[in-house]
Symmetry: C2
Subunit: 205 residues, 2 copies
Amino acid sequence: MARPTTAERGREVRRKLLDVACRLIAERGWTAVSTRMLADRAGVTPGLVHYHFSSVQALLSEAATGAMRDYLAQAPGLFDRADSPRRGLELLLGELDRHTGLDPQSLLFIEAYLAATRDDALRGEISAVVAEFRSRVADWLGRCGVADPDGTAAVLAAAIDGVLMHRALSPGMSGADVAPVLGRILAPAAGERGPHETEGTGDPA
Amino acid sequence: MARPTTAERGREVRRKLLDVACRLIAERGWTAVSTRMLADRAGVTPGLVHYHFSSVQALLSEAATGAMRDYLAQAPGLFDRADSPRRGLELLLGELDRHTGLDPQSLLFIEAYLAATRDDALRGEISAVVAEFRSRVADWLGRCGVADPDGTAAVLAAAIDGVLMHRALSPGMSGADVAPVLGRILAPAAGERGPHETEGTGDPA
DNA sequence: TGCTATTTTGGGCATCCGACCAAGTCGAAC
DNA sequence: GTTCGACTTGGTCGGATGCCCAAAATAGCA
């Protein structure tokens, strides 16, 4: 039905370039993505890349931050459905198991972290995105009565990325393996009773 | 005084190339390191790079794995001087505080992880190196009576890299901040009494 | 039906890339 | 003193790079 007007197709090309950029960053590495690569994969002419974007760097940055924002904006919905640390951790690790560390999503995140190291503007954007994610996790932890929600959220977020990165090297570390260990991080605040405290590790598969 | 024989100077050039490779990987990113860059920084002719190494990739791989091996071979000496989880964690976080996440050492590790994603031989070498590190940490944890030494060591190692990566984006997360959280990971095995269990977070700065 | 703005094309620019090689230098062993 | 092997030089090769631009195609508006 859609009569693709010119402007609409232009926006579609732009969107497509952002999409293939995410895939290529994961596939080849941030600094190895080139103008022609992007154009070929998107099925457009190389000249179009610099028509829609001021530079390849700008395209990559916009693609990465956009994808990270999209993913993390949908992820915290996870926590809203969890009222206890154990249930939240369960959902979180389920989400974690959907990533092997070699999938485009995981690699894009780590590549973006490294690229932010060499690009101040990108660093600002990315640190804002993860800061917001951390604060949402901290809110959830606070509601669940976990001690030191801010510090715990920061370490938890970092540990998630670390596990993804290590899993790419040595597969075999599943969510079920890290669950009991990370679960120990979520200790209840002093004086508050943990709703579902895990004492031993007797977790039936 | 030293009469540098030709063969000696050759070995020195090779060593120097490996050294600047580590720095350049951290500075520009793995895939952005070029033959000319390496030669310029090392103060030699571009042709020398391909005389001493079969390819730039081979040079980068050897440089990264060598540096990782050197660093991790010296790090576990840390654990030998620690008989309790808390003391070991203290030493570990002290070591962690020496890295900002933006220093060449930290960046080299993460760049190497990502490069291993696209190079099977490199992945084999790196995963062997970190596996040995993990097993040493697990040994130490076992000696200290920590529950599930293997799983704990795996998550701990991953968390360390994750914290380094996140710290590069949002500084302000010091070792003192992550200490109480990571400390909770090191729970004593069931039936065994933790030597220095940290209950609350009342840790004097 | 023109007019105008937007999108698209294909090619061109200077620069850099990894890899290779013939010729030259040097030191050590004979 | 000569020979030999390891090391070094400077340059070349085909190809890829990011970015730019004049011209062509397209579609909404008058």
